[in-house]
């Protein structure tokens, strides 16, 4: 049993529901206990996040609605500084689920609006989220529902709505259901900003809508988009599809039917509350089982944000988006409507070299370094011996629990126990090198 102590369980929880945690934050969560930590994570409104807002205001000059760089940089900076890690984690989950990419949408304003919508509804009623996304300008541009008109419907959104957002590929629906749903979804356009002065938003144009009778998943009537969303949100297959994805996101690789049943129950007994599903998972025994331990491959964004938060950089590198992109992931730009391929797909020689070269960039010495390894270990009192330094870093960066061989290589890299001299290790680069080695080792790629 790997996760025996409450301390180890909280660290495991934070690797899944958080973004990498500084030593100080860890102590705060340890004081709350496991259930207290889950409560805190699930109640983001109770946590003041104004310091994160201030950091963003101080560092991002352009309006994220006007500039692509500011749009992307703002979210990376939010992830680096937020005190509401689970809220951002779920915003990220939905960004991947409803994957929409700026490479087609091109307008940063609607991408920023979608990001705000995802954050606002990330833990709320799934039906409300699905409805909002159906009328979300970025999604309407991405999957073409804004040009879906009666007589010659565009099937793009209807197909992905069923295949990727609710039921799962080939589950329950036929090609005819796709065509019928596409008809029901006709009639929506994006109202421009110039005339109204407000945000771009969905507007219904009756003459573009097919008001005729449709039969969708066995329901017949003059169905519109709200009907389609309502039918889908009430299907047990939808609850199971979302539930399975959440179990995999937070807990176990292959959730059995009994677990999926549990999140479906939470969904239908709580007016489709996403928070209720997440709470069920985070407080389950299975969340802390051996099967749940360290099987998830960190995505590039998890790796980079996790490293920088734990290392307490004096300032962000400001090149985080480029670094994650070389590892295969850029927020706001997933490759296709299915989002990013996950797990083992993150791992190949190109991306592993990119991960190591990123860690080299963070830890290397330069004129004005943003990372000070000596200050980090001193600040947390881990200075007495090479073993103390190594154990501190292992606990901070991978939650401890490594084989003896790994620990010995690291101690040796610091100069060994007999000749240990912290200041010399810092001056020679060996201390930063030890941090490099911990962050590039295979275990550090797993969460």
């Amino acid at each position: 049993m790997a996760l025996e102590t409450e301390r180890a369980r909280i660290q495991h929880l934070l690797r899944r529901a958080g973004w990498g945690t500084s030593r100080g934050e860890l102590d705060e969560y340890f004081a709350l206990g496991l259930e207290g930590t889950v409560d805190r994570l699930l109640d983001p409104a109770a946590v003041d996040d104004s310091a994160s807002d201030a950091a963003i205001a101080a560092l991002i000059e352009d309006d994220p609605r006007e500039r692509r760089g500011a749009l992307i940089g703002t979210w990376y900076l939010r992830l680096l500084t937020t005190r509401r890690p689970l809220l951002e984690r779920m915003t990220y989950f939905w960004h991947d689920h409803f994957a929409t990419a700026i490479h087609k949408v091109s307008n940063p304003a609607v991408m920023q609006i979608q990001n705000e919508t995802l954050r606002r509804l990330a833990l709320g009623d799934f039906r409300a989220l699905l409805q909002a996304i159906t009328r979300d300008p970025a999604m309407m541009a991405w999957l073409d529902n804004r040009t879906n008109v009666k007589d010659a419907p565009n099937e793009n959104y209807a197909r992905e709505l069923l295949e990727l957002h609710t039921l799962g590929e080939g589950v329950l629906y036929t090609e005819t259901d796709i065509k019928q749903a596409a008809r029901a979804l006709t009639g929506w356009v994006i109202a421009g900003t110039r005339r109204t002065g407000g945000d771009p938003e969905a507007r219904f144009v009756p003459r573009r809508h097919d008001g005729g009778e449709k039969t969708f998943l066995g329901v017949t009537g003059a169905l519109d988009d709200t009907d389609v969303v309502g039918i889908l949100a009430e299907r047990p297959e939808t609850a199971a599809f979302i539930g399975r994805k959440l179990w995999r996101f937070f807990a176990v690789p292959e959730p059995p039917a009994a677990l999926i049943e549990r999140t479906s129950e939470a969904y239908f007994s709580s007016d489709r509350s996403i928070a209720a599903m997440v709470r069920t998972i985070l407080l389950s025994e299975e969340m802390y089982s051996d099967e749940a331990y360290r099987w998830r491959v960190k995505s590039p964004v998890e790796l980079v944000i996790g490293a920088e938060r734990a290392l307490e950089l004096s300032a962000p590198l400001r090149r985080e988006p480029q670094f994650t992109q070389t590892m295969g992931q850029l927020l706001f730009d997933p490759p296709n409507p299915a989002g990013w391929p996950e797990g083992a797909a993150w791992i190949n020689s190109n991306t592993l070299l990119a991960r190591a070269n990123y860690v080299n960039e963070v830890t290397r010495a330069r004129g004005r370094s943003v990372f000070d390894a000596l200050a980090l270990v001193r600040c947390h009192g881990a200075t007495g011996s090479a073993a103390e330094v190594v154990d501190f870093l292992l606990d901070l960066l991978v939650g401890g629990d490594v084989d003896a061989g790994t620990r010995e290589v690291l101690i040796e890299h610091l100069g060994g126990e007999h000749h240990f001299d912290l200041e010399e290790a810092a001056a020679s680069g060996a201390l930063a090198g030890t941090v490099y080695l911990v962050l590039t080792m295979p275990l550090a790629q797993l969460a």
Partner: protein, 440 residues
């Protein structure tokens, strides 16, 4: 640690000795080494051997396959256009290309006007176009249909990809870490094989493990210990199954990533493109492919992906631009390959997961469809048209084209005629072969 290990850490040591010592350090000598470690570090199968030029002479019929995946579902009907068929013009009042704008191939079919690059290859006899390629009971989901093409299996999920199985079935350059490669930041499904390692790269110069220039001595130790930690975490037999097998995967890939940087550095030098490649991502990727296949790395299969072909709306201008970018990149690549004297040795196979709906939608675009053309380029291909163009007047119940050539027939032809391998070993059964190649 014993005293002598400190000296070994303090001076540069042959990397193979170092890894052997690293493995001894974690007790590998008494454990059964996993296959990947044998393959990567055993002297008898050392990747350096593959770099011996004399080995190339033993494989005079060396053939290289570049697979170009055109993701998103390319509109086949507007790529190879049935410009003498009135039904095509009826179905596509907004998107049909007028006959006088097309680039005719014969009196029935023509290329999209943006495909000048393909036209010039075709006129030289260096392009084979297979018409009406698809498979039974077509799936119109991008991802499900890609799975079908990637695994060459229509009736179920397969762990391995067709190119991975081809690698497993061919002896060619078995010992080279670079016998197959992907250009990009992903590990494409078609290359998944029983032997797990296929390197991915963005470019040859960027394929290195960097260290801190301010601390060269520590940098050298970092590389040493980076490898020892990977070996340590790969070595424990328990680890092979632990953490869902992911720790084994990461450590193995990390070790081989480093080994492959060394092998690539030794195998590549002084490549210069002998044509001007366009400044587009797909052309850059093909340029990297050219750098690999003209090197001493022993590369037989390269995978390249380009996307953006999911043209549900405003297709007209967009699709032309997409086609132009691909056609120009492919022409530059084959011109470069020819200038390097390898024209007969390199073939490109360009495919897409499905064609698009015959009837255009109300967004000036097209929805997901079925069969479409597939392209093979290179001096070895039998240039011209192969297969049957599906009739626009004879559609399935969904309004889509009926396929005439199973894509596995194309795979089978490539496997047999290019790689001299029994297609049934790779595809799980026989498929009719088409005469797609000149005798090689």
């Amino acid at each position: 640690m014993p005293e002598n290990d400190e000296t070994f850490l303090d001076r540069p040591v042959d990397r193979r000795t170092l890894i052997r010592r690293g493995l001894a350090f974690v007790g590998m000598s008494s454990a059964m080494p996993p296959a990947f470690l044998r393959a990567a570090f055993d002297d008898r199968s050392a990747p350096a051997l593959a770099l011996d030029p004399s080995q190339k002479l033993e494989t005079p019929r060396r053939q290289v396959l570049v697979v170009l995946q055109i993701a998103g579902g390319n509109d086949g009907l507007n790529t190879v256009i049935p410009y003498s068929d009135g039904a095509y013009y009826d179905a596509r009042p907004g998107l049909a290309i007028a006959p006088e704008e097309t680039l005719p191939l014969d009196d029935r079919l023509a290329l999209h006007p943006a495909l000048e690059g393909v036209q010039s290859l075709y006129e030289r006899g260096d392009a084979a176009i297979v018409l009406g390629v698809g498979y039974p009971n077509p799936n119109r989901s991008h991802f499900a249909s890609m799975d079908v093409w990637h695994t060459a299996s229509t009736d179920g999920w397969s762990e391995t990809g067709w190119l991975g199985r081809l690698l497993d079935a061919t002896r060619y350059e078995q010992e080279s870490l670079w016998r197959a490669a992907n250009v990009g930041a992903s590990a494409p499904r078609p290359l998944t094989s029983a032997e797990p390692f296929v390197p991915s790269l963005s470019s040859v110069p960027a394929y290195v493990l960097q260290t801190d220039p301010r601390h060269p001595a520590d940098g050298e130790r970092r590389v040493t210990n980076f490898l020892r930690l990977h070996a340590a975490q790969a070595a424990s037999l328990a680890v092979q199954a632990e953490y869902g097998g992911q720790l084994a995967l990461v450590s193995e890939t990390g070790l081989q990533a480093y080994e492959s940087t060394v092998a690539l550095d030794a195998a590549t030098s002084g490549y210069e493109a002998r044509v001007d490649y366009p400044d587009t991502p797909v052309a850059r990727a093909l340029r990297t492919a050219a750098e690999l296949v003209t090197s001493e790395a022993g590369t037989g299969i390269v995978y390249v992906t380009t996307g953006g072909f999911d043209t549900h709306s405003n297709q007209a201008g967009q699709h032309g631009e997409l086609l132009r970018v691909v056609g120009d990149a492919v022409r530059a690549f084959h011109d470069d390959i020819a200038a390097h004297g390898m024209a007969r040795e390199v073939t490109t196979l360009a495919w897409t997961e499905f064609g698009r709906r015959v009837r255009e939608n109300g967004s000036d675009g097209t929805d997901h469809g079925t069969a479409g053309p597939l392209f093979l380029f290179g001096r070895s291909v039998r240039g011209g048209l192969h297969g049957e163009q599906p009739a626009v007047g004879d559609l399935d119940g969904n309004g889509d084209l009926k396929y005439s050539v199973d894509f596995r027939s194309v795979y089978a032809s490539v496997i047999a005629q290019l790689f001299d391998t029994d297609p049934a070993d790779v595809l799980g059964g026989p498929y009719e072969e088409l005469p797609l190649f000149e005798a090689v």
